[in-house]
Symmetry: D2
């Protein structure tokens, strides 16, 4: 056991949002929700305010605008979800795997997050700056890393910071079979005792906490060299003059 | 122009390594090196010690061990490159695009970085913890984002922190054509005045600086909840007991 | 000009379905539809019956079942689209690129196609056997090849045959800018005269025709070594007995 | 058992090349070679001439030219491998998975195949037209589908036809563990009795045979609408005049 028995900081001022992109609406059970729950419990044990959103319970209009009701759609639940995302320091996207890819609902979520990528915070940085992101993937066919590549890429591209080892997942042996949390023949639940998966989800969660703490204490990412209005105004932040290159 | 005319911190104690994975050995010109050079110049202007390594000039044996001369290969230049990577706070991998993918040399570099993923620092974390990573991609066919997904994923998976917007690249319109820095008919050099590319490489560089500064000042990522020996010893860091799930 | 001035066969008995996965419902213009239209015109000139479906005009319930109204959803337009897909010899999926990925609607289409992957034709092969598939991608950010990788992979995985060079697309230089068919400053429409794009969409279309002709004339893929019921019944088709390996 | 007890055709005039991209040179055992061997045995049982090439035993210079000794490299074994690829009707690329990606050697092979993508056969089509391609993947971490996406995409892009279900692979449950063919505690060899993997490799092999047979009998892909010299000479093959679009 560790000699350091307590965490290096307090985290009770932090907020986290977990968005589950299972294709199944509530109250159907979700394997992905089960693994996300492990991370949520770790956060909750540290006093972090955790919200779990099941995207399939909402009507998220297609498009890359912030509110599609202004673009011809009758209903769009995205603005409400976005408000929750923006209130949080930590965002974790969870998704199942279908044909080796994240779910269509996960892609929808990312498209809608992206819709805000042109907005800036009060320091002129993209609105997701200063937040941290992670990814949880389950399936009964392979694709954890492939799905995580795309999800984490999207998050960093719109402004999230990605801590070390910010993805975790579970799949079984190649071929059809049980999904995370399904009951095995011996009564146990598959994946629950998988050391690799449980360790990864734990490391991911703590690294999200560490970076979120660090960024919050620093007041976010320093606002220099990363503000589009500054760039557009001609400030080059040491980018060399092409004529001298 | 920005009212804040100077950076928020000093960076002259930082070190950066840029590894260029072009398929061409020196002294052949490399388009990727040109774009990497923009980032290198920004860092150098802040006093960061920058090293540029062209991987094609070295003999990097295939395998996922730290030194392949211990596994039957006569020569392996990787240990020397690894020492430089380990001395640095910032790692930027640069690669061309071939058939939509990173170069085979870029994959070789990542395989060899991965060989060390089981090693730990003096706090029991993976050896790349506390460092930051980014990615630069050029090509005359498309694939910047796809290549960056894989490269940045690999870096975070082995322990690097990925700052916001940590990738940059240049490609031209679909189809054959000039690569970054090639002379255009009007005498200009393509991509040099591409606002999107130049802004992205600038933002990437400053975000690498900001996070590297923050992590160095903090003494790295806090060592709690992310040490494999602790996990193996049974410390669960609030991961709930499966029997209670 | 070619000495052979006429095609090597007749194709008027063939049917093609093009599914456009733009996020925009009709009647909004779709860049992707414009490029798909080039392929559609080539097919139509050969007498092929071509149907163009804009997926955003339909309500496609999430899930991986063939008819989600049997699984709690009030409405599901998929069965009608599936009937059209099944009536066709050629399927072309078109999609825009968002953050380097295919659209969420394209993923939805593939999830629903996949729902039928357990069904078999009258020879015991998966239902998509004997058909050919292709892919058309447009965007103002890069990702043609990445998107095509996933789309074509999915199609072959569920039973489609993929002819040579079965993808085509258009993107402009890195950064924001016009999409395929947008009017340029000189009045021309971007991409319309891009030799690479126009050649690729033409080659793709003819290769779809050639393979569709060949497969139709052959009565599909020969039914031997590729029927799951046969496998399940113990027929091994020369797969060596593991005990002898 | 099937009523049809014999294959629908003869295949003894066909040739197949399997390239194994394991990072390990001979005589080290390769898990990937074991699974490739299943497909090879099926082909051999039909009289197909099968060649197995372990790429790690050769010196394949980096670059995208057909013979790198003409570009400054002292040695390049690629031309010899290319001659064998060109003599074959069927190409199967096998690769392990590292960090969710194909091996660097697999990427090297694809880069070198790509070097010939500008060459044409005697009918003016790209040189790989008329051949069929498949993919076999093993690993102890996930990524079969992701790797297959990239490999099969590359093959179709340079001219190969991809039959239905042209990929197969084996991985175990998430986390470290045995690779294909490793001995399990009960003395069995992992993956050997995996129905999903064995069925997929069998279906893949037969579909390669069926399409290779069909293409060989047809004298390849019909040469119309897919010859670059024709396109360059102005033949548009029904691609509509942009001015009329």
């Amino acid at each position: 056991m560790s000699k350091r028995s307590s965490p290096p900081a307090k985290y009770a001022d932090l907020r986290a949002v977990f968005i589950n992109s299972t294709l199944k609406p509530s109250p159907e059970p979700s394997h992905t929700a089960l693994l996300m729950g492990v991370s949520e419990e770790i956060l909750a044990a540290q006093g972090v305010a955790v919200e779990h959103i099941r995207a399939a319970d909402y009507l998220l209009a297609p498009g890359v605008q912030t509110d599609m009701t202004e673009h011809g759609f009758e209903r769009d639940d995205w603005p409400g979800i976005y408000a929750r995302v923006q209130s949080a320091d930590i965002l974790v996207l969870g998704t199942p795997i279908w044909l080796g890819e994240r779910s269509s609902i996960c892609s929808r979520i990312i498209e809608r997050l992206y819709a805000h990528s042109g907005e800036v915070n009060d320091r002129g940085q993209y609105v997701y700056y200063g937040k941290v992101g992670g990814c949880i993937v389950t399936g009964n066919e392979d694709g954890i890393k492939h799905v995580a590549m795309g999800v984490l890429y999207s998050l960093q591209h719109i402004g999230y910071t990605i801590p070390p080892q910010a993805d975790a997942g579970w799949i079984g042996e190649a071929g059809p079979g049980p999904s995370y949390g399904d009951q095995a023949e011996d009564g146990s639940r598959v994946g629950f005792d998988n050391e690799f998966t449980q360790r990864n989800v734990t490391f991911m969660t703590w690294n999200l906490l560490h970076l979120a703490r660090m960024l919050k204490d620093a007041g976010g990412i320093p606002a220099y060299g990363n503000q589009s209005a500054e760039w557009d105004a001609g400030n080059r932040f040491d980018n060399p003059n092409p004529e001298h290159r």
